[in-house]
């Protein structure tokens, strides 16, 4: 490789750096270092003149390495790499020394700060000499998509993709489509029937030539990487009529495995399972769908009580809000009042979360139909007890009512527990299969909660709907279609870009000890049985370097984070 010719640029960042760090002093010291051709200071290196300065110097002194001592590389590394590209040298011949966030902004002592800044800059100069030119890699994009889960999310995603003319494999664990939505009667706030929402989509999916439906099946294994996955799909339980295992090639995976409702019997004080007419929201939905609301004894209840946040927003169970229960509860109030106008509905809540479009109006309407809203405190809870023979109701709910400050008891013949959402028991298994992570509550983690809500840290794996967090139908559908859109974008590009920074195995050094094989979080390391060599799949590798550090024969190299580069840095900071 050509003799390194390094240009070093120390940024004043206005006064941000210069007011604490003696930039010119550093500049003179650095200029004396071997291989350093030019060293300059400038007011704002990130400004256009600043970047132009680099470009000119590269051309004038035909530099082949550049170091900028300025802010955090997390801030401007991309900016300067672009500058190098325009100057016509490989962007990876660049190093950045962080002398703002990690120096001038956190230290007051000028000398100490200057010394530190000098050290890190020196380290960068020594390191950059070992930097190597890296090129991005490309792989083909398979236009097929695997959709896990046949709920409203899965259906929406599948249709979106298939309608665009791409093959979709829709895998559903149960023997029917529709997921949790299929268990619901009407939907808040517009009171559309869930049936109507679903039937049309289900029939379209069933008849769609581009969608292969796999019922009673689940993902058994997923190998490969974005654009080139191989998925093994097999029957949930191998009984006679169930489909046999089948492996399909897909470019992307959309995980829409949905949620499971909270098990109300875990909350002992509501006596669910003991008191016959304390039921969960889903049991009530069933009544509504069957069109007969009655107690276990077959009587028509007169007093209804709906208790919110069962298992949600509590110290003891889930801390989060399940988001849909409030509106569902109001929906029940509506349905009860229209079915039994003479009945009374008490709605016992912590806070009324009416955040969505049309939700506030829905809330008002349900108060107009004389739903009695009663507020209880977070981390307190209503207690349900049987009523006395004299009472005209079956149960009494005692609660410390916040808005009146009174301890009250509410008459009830039927109590509906608004059970929250929680991650499915099998969620962790799926997470391991497709290599995505879960948060403390078991929900799948998106690659960025705000800016990248449907992608995950594993490229080509997308999440949509309530497997990512509790959400209502509109949000779920929006996510599903967003995921589909992201995939369609990839398909349109036909090629997958693979980041240039990844680990690679030197076959001549590797002796096949397989120490590294189990270390990769992305199973990017494959073992070649013939050659007795381990191999890193660069498309899967995310460059953490765990295998590199572990390799006992230094056969694995972390591109752009090689031992030489880091050792040089160590010498640099300590010199």
């Amino acid at each position: 490789m050509a003799e390194p010719k390094i240009g070093v640029y120390i940024c004043n960042c206005g006064t941000n750096i210069a007011k604490v760090v003696d930039c010119d002093g550093i500049c003179q010291r650095i200029a004396k270092m071997p291989n350093v051709v030019v060293a300059r200071t400038y007011k704002y290196m990130c400004s256009n003149p600043g970047q132009d300065m680099i470009v000119e110097d590269v051309r004038k002194h035909n530099l082949n390495r550049v170091v900028v001592a300025a802010c955090s590389p997390r801030m401007h590394e991309r900016t300067f790499r672009k500058a190098l590209q325009t100057a016509g040298i490989n962007p990876y011949f660049f190093e950045m020394a962080n002398i703002r966030e990690q120096c001038s902004w956190v230290h007051e002592d000028h000398d100490a700060a200057t010394a530190k800044a000098l050290a890190v800059t020196r380290a960068a100069v020594l390191r950059v000499a070992y930097n190597e030119p890296l090129e991005k890699l490309y792989a083909d994009m398979c236009p097929n998509t695997l959709v896990l889960g046949g709920g409203i999310a899965g259906l929406s995603a599948a249709l979106e993709l298939a309608d665009a003319g791409n093959q979709v494999f829709l895998v559903e664990k149960t023997d029917r489509l529709g997921g949790n939505l299929a268990r619901v009667d009407l939907t808040a706030p517009h009171l559309y029937s869930a049936r109507d929402l679903l039937t049309d989509r289900i029939t379209r999916v069933r008849e769609h030539p581009k969608i292969q439906l796999m019922l009673e099946s689940e993902l058994k294994n997923l190998s490969g990487f974005v654009g080139n996955f191989v998925a093994l799909v097999g029957p949930v339980k191998s009984n006679g009529n169930a489909p046999r295992e089948q492996s399909v090639e897909v470019g992307s995976v959309v995980v829409c495995t949905g949620y499971k409702e909270f098990d109300a019997s875990r909350v002992t004080h509501y006596g669910y399972g003991k008191l016959p007419n304390v039921i969960t929201s889903f049991e009530f939905e069933k009544m509504l769908r069957e069109g007969k609301i009655q107690t276990k004894e077959g009587r028509i209840p007169q007093y209804f009580a709906i208790i919110h946040c069962v298992g949600s927003r509590s110290r003891d169970f889930h801390g989060y809000c399940s988001r849909v229960c409030c509106m569902t509860a109001l929906k029940y109030a509506h349905e009860i009042k229209s079915a039994l106008p003479k009945s009374y509905v008490s709605d016992v809540y912590i806070d009324m979360h009416a955040f969505g479009k049309g939700h506030e109006d829905f809330y008002r309407e349900s108060s107009e139909v004389k739903t009695l809203f009663l507020m209880y405190g977070k981390n307190e809870h209503p207690v349900i007890k049987r009523a006395q023979p004299g009472d005209d109701c079956e149960m009494l709910i005692e609660v410390n009512e916040k808005l009146s400050g009174e301890v009250i008891e509410i008459p009830a013949d039927m109590v509906i527990l608004m059970v929250g959402m929680e991650a499915r028991p099998g969620a962790d298994h799926v997470a391991r299969l497709v290599n995505i992570s879960q948060d403390k509550d078991g929900w799948y983690i998106e690659s960025h909660p705000k800016l990248d809500p449907v992608a995950t840290t594993t490229e080509g794996i997308f999440i949509a709907g309530t497997c990512a967090a509790p959400k209502d139908i509109p949000d779920t559908v929006a996510q599903a279609r967003a995921a589909a859109a992201r995939i369609l974008g990839k398909i349109a590009r036909q090629k997958i870009e693979i980041d240039a920074v990844f680990a690679e195995v030197d076959e001549d050094r590797c002796s096949g000890c397989r120490m590294c094989n189990s270390l990769c979080p992305y199973s990017a390391i494959e073992f070649d049985e013939e050659k007795h060599r381990s191999k890193v799949n660069s498309a899967l590798c995310k460059a953490c370097g765990a295998c590199v550090a572990a390799c006992p024969s230094r056969a694995i190299k972390a591109r752009h984070f090689t031992d030489e580069q880091i050792l040089a840095q160590i010498e640099g900071v300590l010199a």
Partner: protein, 321 residues
């Protein structure tokens, strides 16, 4: 064969003598050696005095094979002497190469060693505090013995070394190969390791290797081994993956984990650190407690990782003042 015979010297520094035996283990080949070389110094086999060597002109020897580490002033003296008199100096065996087993003494100090050997030893008669001194006055005369250094050095710490032949001891076939190479003048660039391969022991090890996860360590006698399976996969600590091959997989073939005598692979700065890094990586535990529990199975890990290479490691020795 060259008209003039090769002039060679073999020396035994701080070591067990196994290296000399390894030379003899070349069996009848030793006769060929004798045929093609004059052995000018070989304390274990042929008679010869340091004075004879001192009398030589510089560079008179073609090859000096030095085994054993540098533990005392005599070792250093002879090392420098041979360096002066010989065209080529070869660090022969793990001790000369990396410090070897004697190098483990660097985990402690001269004083501690002396205390154990000459003071606190049960076989010492009470009240006797005799400790070897470099210089002793005895009725008017001074008696000198070599100075025992505070730490063990590998050969190239004291003199420039041309070639390294690793192994504890070097495998006879490798010895043979090296000597032939010398004889035929087919040696690689100076400073390189000869008589060993560029790959790890695993390369030559026939045991079947799988993905590794260690849930507990076993000493070889603690379990019934599967002779076909990688020792590490069975939880038996084997540092073969971090060790040059060339030995012919001697230890693993006998069901012992490789102990690392052939030293680090090319470009590896610190063999022990690499052993440490790879072994710890595959421990199958997440909490400090669980990890600790598994590590208990590998007592005195430092000694395992640096069994042959302590003086050649980055730390070289226990550095506590």
């Amino acid at each position: 064969m060259s008209p003039k015979k090769l002039q060679i010297a073999l020396y035994w520094g701080a070591g067990c003598g196994g290296c000399d035996v390894a030379v003899l283990d070349t069996n009848e080949f030793i006769l060929d050696v004798a045929a093609l070389a004059d052995i000018r110094l070989w304390p274990i086999a042929v008679d010869g005095k340091y004075q004879d060597v001192e009398k030589m002109v510089d560079g008179e020897l073609d090859l000096a094979i030095f085994n054993g580490a540098v533990r005392n002033s005599e070792n250093e003296h002879v090392a420098k002497l041979l360096r002066k008199k010989s065209k080529l100096l070869m660090a022969f065996g793990s001790c000369a190469h990396m410090g070897g087993i004697p190098g483990l003494a660097n985990f402690t100090t001269k004083d501690k060693i002396f205390a154990t050997a000459y003071l606190d030893n049960p076989s010492i008669e009470p009240g006797n505090h005799t400790v070897p001194l470099p210089e002793t006055k005895l009725n008017g005369k001074t008696l000198n013995i070599p100075t025992f250094y505070d730490q063990v050095y590998k050969l190239d710490d004291v003199v420039e070394v041309d070639y390294y032949v690793p192994g504890c001891p070097p495998a006879p076939n490798q010895v043979k190969a090296v000597l032939l190479a010398v004889a035929q003048g087919q040696l690689p660039a100076k400073g390189s390791v000869v008589g060993a391969s560029e790959h790890a022991v695993c390369e030559d090890c026939q045991r079947e290797k799988k993905e590794k996860k260690i849930t507990r360590f076993y000493r070889p006698w603690q379990i019934i081994q599967d002779p076909k399976q990688c020792l590490m996969d069975q939880g038996i600590l084997c540092v073969g993956a971090a060790t040059r091959s060339g030995c012919g997989v001697r230890c693993p073939n006998t069901g012992q984990g490789c102990r690392g005598c052939y030293g680090p692979l090319p470009g590896v700065m610190d063999q022990g650190a690499k052993i440490l890094s790879s072994v710890s990586s595959i421990i199958d535990a997440k909490t400090p407690e669980d990890i600790q529990e598994i590590l208990e199975g590998a007592p005195d890990f430092a000694a395992i990782a640096y069994r042959f290479g302590l003086p050649a490691s980055l730390m070289q020795r226990n550095v506590s003042p």
